[in-house]
């Protein structure tokens, strides 16, 4: 029976939200969600047609699960503990131990096994982050950053969520902050985060990752009407929209979240040019939203205002070109 006095705050994205909440708990109030997201280089894009997730091609707008927490704490020189486990018993015992020490604990989980979430969101998605901050009456106190309020979960449900199978497998992954340094090099971490994110988006020489993948998706979408049944084409489009807009993206496939990061950074670093970049990315984010809106219309296939698959391809082509130029210029900033 223990409970940490934990300040729950709702955020847009689970991992940057958990990271911000855990660091603020350690007294680092200046770490907002956008800062965690940007320093953690959370923005990404990948479209991997040959990896099917529930029958649709894998598409993602975020970086690998766990990478935001890792990069943020590394850049800011924060001492953390991370661990995976071989069995649920060991993982739950270790969780109790850390809670008894008075530390809130971050964990990876599958949303399918979180009964406190509405059914609408509960698919087999295995990279959801949450915080346990206590155990009372044999239930864990949970701070799930996508929710407005805190929640509770039974140990057997949490164990299932932590040991969900599939891709990726959380394997009971848990993490907590051990020590924070007296002084934070926030400016240095912001610069490093921006560099890293530009690298992640621009450098992959493969068509499936980063900025390249936007053009790949543009090409694929144009071919949907020829290559797929109407039903399949609808499901494929639906999946892209869900990845872009469903719970925890901050809108427009994380573009608004990243723009918020650039804006906050412009104030911290006293650089007006970053404010300009933030505005530009906001406009690109609006284009992403326009794409999702048009894709949804195509999906419903209202005959009156049909947007063709070619037009959807054109939209992505335009977004890809703008983002390529945007991140190339961002990458060239002199610090």
């Amino acid at each position: 029976m223990s409970r940490v006095n934990f300040q729950h705050q709702q955020h847009a994205h689970c991992e940057s939200g958990v990271t911000a909440n855990l660091l603020r708990h350690e007294g680092l109030q200046q770490i907002t969600e956008p800062l965690a997201f940007g320093i953690g280089a959370g923005l990404f894009f990948a479209h991997i047609p040959f990896i099917k997730v529930s029958g649709t091609p894998g598409t993602t707008f975020r970086s690998l699960p766990g990478s935001i927490f890792k990069r943020v704490t590394k850049s800011l020189d924060i001492d953390v503990h991370t661990q995976r486990f071989s069995t649920p018993d060991k993982a739950m015992a270790a969780l109790d131990e850390v809670l008894d020490m008075g530390k809130p604990v971050g964990m990876l989980s599958s949303v399918y096994y979180l009964p406190y979430l509405p059914e609408a969101f509960r698919f087999h998605f295995n990279a959801h982050n949450l915080v346990a901050y206590g155990k009372e009456n044999d239930a864990y106190n949970i701070s799930d950053p996508v929710l407005e309020e805190v929640a509770t979960i039974l140990p057997e449900d949490l164990a299932k969520a932590r040991f969900a199978k599939g891709t990726p497998e959380p394997k009971g992954f848990m993490y907590y902050v051990k020590n924070v340094p007296a002084n934070l090099d926030l400016a240095g971490a912001i610069q490093k985060g921006i560099k890293k994110n530009c690298f992640l988006l621009l450098s992959p020489p493969l068509p499936w990752f980063g900025n390249n993948a936007i053009f790949l998706l543009a090409k694929k979408i144009r071919k949907y009407p020829q290559q797929l049944t109407e039903r399949k084409a609808q499901l494929y489009l639906g999946n892209i929209i869900r990845m872009q807009e469903e719970i925890g993206t901050g809108g427009a496939g994380f573009r608004f979240l990243y723009a918020a990061f650039l804006q906050e950074s412009s104030e911290i670093l006293k650089r007006d040019d970053l404010k300009g970049f933030a505005q530009e990315l906001t406009a690109i984010g609006d284009e992403w939203r326009n794409f999702a809106y048009s894709a949804a219309r195509q999906m419903k296939a209202r005959k009156t205002d049909l947007v063709s698959f070619d037009e959807l391809g054109d939209m992505l082509q335009s977004i890809g070109t703008k983002e390529k130029d945007f991140f190339t210029r961002l990458n060239k900033l002199k610090w």
């Binding site: 709702q10 955020h11 847009a12 969600e33 956008p34 529930s54 029958g55 399918y112 979430l117 509405p118 059914e119 609408a120 969101f121 698919f123 087999h124 996508v146 929710l147 407005e148 199978k165 599939g166 609808q234 499901l235 489009l237 639906g238 999946n239 929209i241 869900r242 807009e245 469903e246 719970i247 925890g248 993206t249 901050g250 809108g251 427009a252 608004f256 979240l257 723009a259 918020a260 804006q263 906050e264 933030a278 505005q279 906001t282 984010g285 609006d286 939203r289 999702a292 809106y293 894709a295 949804a296 219309r297 999906m299 419903k300």
Partner: protein, 134 residues
Amino acid sequence: MKVNEVPQDARDFRDGDKVKKLVYAVDKDGKYTGVNSAGWEAENTATRQAWDAVDEALAETEAKVKAGQLSPIAYYMQKCLMDKGLLAKYVGKWGWQVSRHMKPSVFNKLDRSLLEKYASVFNITVDELISFGK
């Protein structure tokens, strides 16, 4: 996206309206701020479609189980939103073994311990599993 453009289209299915997620939008001073959103029509359409696809597939499979063409494992697998590969991992079998277990003739001969394993993965009792569709 400006604050006044944050969509508030209710996600009124499967308890989706219980969550008002946070999105980032630009306020009148040009600054980003967090705003709660009840949902967005485009996103609701996509999510609802994903659930409709699940329901349709489930109804088809239910009919096949009742007609004796598939075992209840096929039904509960879909009900739990799993595919063969994922279910195989949960019960510690190969995909081809799970495929066999979906044949009613093979299913009827499965031993109790394996049935229990399937039932526990599906979060139901063995009785519920074997009596489904009968």
